[in-house]
Symmetry: C2
Subunit: 552 residues, 2 copies
C-alpha cells in the first residue's frame, strides 16, 4: 500500500488546518441565549458559576469510557466570540423588547474570565467524575454548554468504541477505520477517523483525516475497478519495470496468464474471471509494491484468490512481493482459513515461504460481537476494515454527557431528582485515582478542595456517594490527581499532547484497568467514591434543599 505518515509532531490543536467553520459561538441551543438574557436582566453577569461536565453511565453496557474532545473544546473556547453578523441575527431572534445593552454585552464577550480544569484527554474515565470543571461568569459559562457537550459527547463515544474494538480484536490485529461513507455527516466521518485512531485503530481510509491529523492511510480497490474490466484486451498498459530497475519492462499480463495456468492446475480450477484478472494486473502495474486487492467480486475461492496468486507470482518473478487480499462478504472466518491454505499450497509448490504470510484483510459490517466471535471460531485474518458500527456507534449512538451547575458565588448547588441517578454532587471537587500495588486502578475518589490529599500507603475511606453502607478502606500504593488547570483566564496553560501522545495515553490508561472491568460480558463496575467529608456535605445540602411540600 501507499506510504504511511506516522510521524506526528503537532498537537491536535495546532494541526487544526481543518477549517470546520461551523464550530462557532452560535452552534448552541437557543435557550442558552434566552437564559443569558435572563441572567443579564437580573444583573447577574458577575456571578461566578462553577459547572461540571460529566456522564452518568458508561456506554455500550460497559464499565469504562475514554475521554476525548478536550483539545477541540480548548480551541472553541479560545476562539469564542459573537461576530457582528451573529449579533444581527440574534436581534431578529430575541423579542424586540430585548435591551440593546445585552447585545453590547454579547459583542464584548470572550473567554478571558474562564478557568477550565480537565482530565487529560485519552484517559479512562467513569460516571459522575467531572471530565471538565468550568468556572467563570454565570451567563458566559451557560453560553458554552451546548457546544462543549457536542464536542465531547461524540469524540468520547467513538474513542471508547474504538478501544472496545481493540480489546475485542486483541493487540496483534490491524484495525482500519473505513466508515466515512456511513458516518453521520462530513465531520461525523472526520471525527470518527481521529478518535478511532486515538482509541486504538491503526489507520483510516479517510484521506482528509490523513492530511489534517497525520493518521496513517489505507485503501486498495472496490468492486467497481474489477467490474470496469471485462477481459485482458481491456488492458491498455500491461508493461511493468522489474523492481531491480536495470532490466527491461515485462508484459505482466502474459506472465500472469502463464502463472494462472499453473495456479489453476494446483487448485484444480478450470477457469477464473478474466475481467477480474485484468483489473488485478492493472492494479499491480500501478502499485507493484502495494498489491493488495479485493477478491470477492465474483467468487473468492474459485476466482479471486487464484487470480491474485497468478498476478503475485508474476510480480515475484520481477522482484515484487504482493501485499494481500481483502474479503468483504460471506463467512469471513471460513474464507480466511481457506485462503490461508491456498497461500500455503502456493508457497510450498513454488518455493516461496513468504507467501504463507500474505495479509488477509476482512471487512463487511463488522461489529464488536463479530470480532469476539471470529476470535472464538479461529480465523486467519490479519486486519479488519471497520466502518458503520464503529463510526455510528450502532450499539449506542450517543453518550449522555451533561453540564450541571454545582456552585454559584461560593454557594454550592445540588440538583435533586426522584431519579437518584440524576442527583448532582454539589460544589467544586478534587478527584483522585487510587492505584494498588499491582499498578491497577482501585477507585476514583472525589473530595472537597479543602481536604488534604489522600497519600500513598495511608488508609482512606472511600464511600459510595448515595449508598450509606457501601464504603471501603483503601490503602493506595499510588495516588494521581485527575484534573489539571488547562485554561487560565482564557489562555491554554498546559502543553497539549499530539494525537499520538493522546493515543498512547489511551493505551497506558487502559492498561491500568482490571480486566474484569474491561470485559465485554457482565463487566465489574469500577468504584467511583467520595470522601466522608464530601459525603456529609452532599447529604446535608440535600436535606436542606428538600422542598417543604415533599416532607408532608
Amino acid at each position: 500500500m501507499a506510504a504511511n505518515n506516522i510521524n506526528n509532531n503537532a498537537s491536535i490543536l495546532e494541526s487544526g488546518q481543518e477549517s470546520n467553520g461551523i464550530i462557532q459561538a452560535l452552534l448552541t441551543d437557543q435557550y442558552q441565549i434566552t437564559m443569558a438574557y435572563a441572567y443579564w436582566k437580573s444583573r447577574r453577569t458577575d456571578s461566578r458559576a462553577v459547572f461540571d461536565l460529566f456522564f452518568r453511565r458508561n456506554p455500550f453496557r460497559g464499565e469504562f469510557t475514554i475521554f476525548a474532545g478536550l483539545q477541540e473544546c480548548l480551541r472553541f473556547l479560545k476562539n469564542f466570540r459573537y461576530t457582528d453578523s451573529d449579533i444581527a441575527f440574534l436581534r431578529t431572534v430575541l423579542p424586540p423588547t430585548t435591551e440593546r445593552g445585552f447585545f453590547d454585552y454579547l459583542s464584548a464577550l470572550n473567554c478571558s474570565a474562564i478557568q477550565l480544569y480537565a482530565i487529560d484527554e485519552g484517559s479512562v474515565v467513569f460516571p459522575r467524575v467531572p471530565l471538565l470543571r468550568i468556572e467563570g461568569p454565570l451567563p458566559l459559562v451557560q453560553l458554552l454548554e451546548t457546544t462543549l457537550l457536542n464536542l465531547i459527547n461524540y469524540a468520547s463515544l467513538v474513542a471508547t468504541n474504538a478501544a472496545r474494538f481493540r480489546l475485542a480484536s486483541g493487540p496483534n490485529k490491524q484495525l482500519l477505520e473505513f466508515g466515512l461513507r456511513r458516518a453521520q455527516g462530513p465531520d461525523g466521518g472526520l471525527s470518527a477517523s481521529k478518535y478511532s485512531y486515538i482509541g486504538g485503530f491503526d489507520a483510516t481510509s479517510n484521506v482528509l483525516a490523513g492530511k489534517l491529523y497525520n493518521i496513517p492511510l489505507r485503501g486498495t480497490n472496490a468492486h467497481s475497478l474489477v467490474m470496469s474490466f471485462r477481459s485482458i484486451d481491456d488492458l491498455k498498459n500491461k508493461m511493468l519495470q522489474p523492481k531491480d530497475a536495470t532490466s527491461d519492462p515485462i508484459d505482466l499480463a502474459a506472465s500472469s496468464l502463464a502463472w494462472l495456468d499453473k495456479v489453476c492446475q494446483l487448485l484444480d480450477l478450470r477457469d477464473t474471471n478474466e475481467g477480474e484478472l485484468a483489473s488485478f494486473i492493472a492494479y499491480a502495474v500501478a502499485f507493484p509494491q502495494g498489491f493488495l486487492v479485493l477478491v470477492d467480486t465474483y467468487d473468492v475461492l474459485k476466482s479471486g484468490v487464484a487470480n491474485f496468486c497468478a498476478v503475485s507470482l508474476a510480480l515475484n518473478d520481477i522482484g515484487y512481493k504482493a501485499v494481500g487480499v481483502r474479503i468483504d462478504s460471506g463467512d469471513l472466518a471460513y474464507q480466511s482459513l481457506e485462503i490461508r491454505k491456498i497461500f500455503e499450497r502456493v508457497a510450498q509448490e513454488f518455493g516461496l515461504p513468504w507467501f504463507c504470510d500474505v495479509t488477509i484483510v476482512a471487512s463487511n459490517d463488522i461489529n464488536e460481537e463479530t470480532l469476539h466471535s471470529l476470535q472464538q471460531q479461529g480465523n486467519s485474518i490479519d486486519a479488519f476494515g471497520i466502518g458503520t458500527h464503529l463510526v455510528t456507534c450502532q450499539k449506542q449512538p450517543a453518550l449522555g454527557c451533561v453540564f450541571k451547575l454545582v456552585q454559584i458565588d461560593d454557594e454550592p448547588r445540588i440538583k435533586l431528582s426522584h431519579d437518584i441517578e440524576k442527583v448532582t454532587i454539589p460544589g467544586r471537587k478534587t478527584a483522585y485515582r487510587l492505584y494498588g500495588s499491582d499498578g491497577l486502578a482501585i477507585a476514583d475518589l472525589m473530595a472537597q478542595p479543602s481536604e488534604t490529599s489522600p497519600e500513598a500507603q495511608k488508609v482512606v475511606l472511600c464511600r459510595h456517594p448515595f449508598e450509606a453502607l457501601t464504603r471501603v478502606n483503601v490503602r493506595p500504593t499510588k495516588v494521581d490527581k485527575l484534573h489539571k488547570l488547562y485554561m487560565k483566564d482564557g489562555e491554554i496553560c498546559q502543553p497539549l499532547p499530539t494525537l499520538s501522545e493522546v493515543r498512547d495515553n489511551v493505551k497506558r490508561s487502559m492498561q491500568t484497568l482490571r480486566s474484569d472491568v474491561k470485559r465485554e460480558l457482565n463487566p465489574t463496575p469500577y468504584k467511583v467514591s467520595v470522601t466522608s467529608n464530601l459525603y456529609h456535605f452532599l447529604h446535608d445540602l440535600w436535606q436542606e434543599s428538600l422542598p417543604v411540600g415533599q416532607l408532608s
Copy 2:
C-alpha cells in the same frame, strides 16, 4: 418565546453561508485515489462510466425513505477540485513511483464533464431505484463516490426519521428538534436540524441552524437557571413595565408572591420552592411575552406548576399572556393531564378561559415508540422536544446507500453476489412512479431508456426484478418520471427549491403513500418493479456473466 423566522426564500444551496470547509475533494476514501491511479495508468481516463447511487433496504424497519442531501451534493460537485496543498499531500501518500502526470491530471480535474440525474430532494423513495445517476469519466466519477454517499446517507436517514416521528405524533403536535448536544459532532447537529425540519419538524433549538437555514427557533431555560436562584432576595431586577406601556413598571415579585398564596390555597399546597419562583420571575421580566419555563427542577405538581401559575397570573394583571411549561422527566402523559387540570382550575377560579390552553411541552429521551405510546395513553402535550433519538437515529444510525458501476463505455455492468439483495440492475434506467385513481402511488417502475414511457390509462406489466413469477398488470391514472437532469456538464441546470419547498415536497410526497406502507408495525412493502424488457436484459446479462467455474 422568541420570534421565529419562517420566511425562507433562499434555496438550501444559496443559503449556504455555512463554511463547512471539510466538505472537500479529499473527504474521501484512499481507495478512490488508488483506483483513480490504476485507471489513469491503464489509460482509461476517457472511459465514460455510469454509476447509480441507491440503497437496498429502508431504514427503521420501515417501508419508505425520504431522499435528502441533493443540494449539498450539487454544491460539492460544483466546487470539486484538488488544491495545491491536496496534491502535495497526495504525493506523500502515493508511492514514490507514482507518475507525475497523474498529479497533473488530478490538478486539472473538475466536474465539467459530469452529468447528474436525480430524484427531487424531499421525495419518498424506495430500495433499488437510483437516487442519483452520475455519468462522466471513469476515474472522476469514482473519486466522487465517498463524499456523495456521506452527504446523502445521513441527510436521508434523519429526514426519514423526522418524517416517522411526524407520523407518530400526528399532524397537530408541534415537533421541536433539541438534539445538538447529543449529535455525532458539530455538523451531525447542524445537518440534523436542517433535515429534521425538512422531514416535518416545526422548529429547532440550534441557533446556527436558525441563522444559516432560516429554521424557526425554540428555546426556554434549563435547570441551571432555576438552580442559580435560591430566594426572592437573589432577584436584582423585579420591575416590569405593563404591556400597555402607558403605566408605570410594577414589582413582579410582590405581585407573584401575592398570587402564589391564592394558587397554593386553590391547589391545597403549603409551599413551593422559592428559588424556582425567583427564577421564573427573572425569566418573566426578561421575556414577558415569551414566558415558557421548565417546571420540573424540584417537583412538577407541588412546586413548578404552582410557581408558573403565580407568575403567569401576575403577568396577566399587566396585560401579558403566559406561553407555557416544559416537563423533562417522569411520566409525561400523566403529568401533562394533571397539569392541564390545574390550568383548567386556575382558568375557572380566576376567570381566565385562555389559561386552559397554555402550552405544555414535553421532552426527555422521546423516541418514535414513546410518541405512539403517548398517543395511545392519552395526554395533554402540545409540543415535543426531541433530541438524541431523532438526531442520532438510535433505532438505526446508518442508511446503507451504495454507489455502483452500471455501465461503462456503453457496455452494461452487473455485480453478481451469492446474496441476491446485492445483485445490481445494469445499465442506465429510466424510473417512473405510477399512481392510481385515488392519487396514491402504486409502484415504481424502472425501464431501459430506449423503451417508450408508460402512459396514463394504459396497462403496463410491472415485474419484480428477481422473482420471475411476481408481476402485476397496472393501469396507472398518472405517471411521473422520477429523475431530472440536475447537472449538465458541471452546471446546475434545475431551479433549486428552498428548504421550505423541500419540506413541502416531503409532505406532499408522503401523502401519496398508502397508509399501510407508512404504518409502524408490519408495514406493507411498496412495489419496486422493472419492465419486461429490463427484466430480460438483466437476466440475460446475469447469465452471461456467470463464471464458468460456478457452473461446474
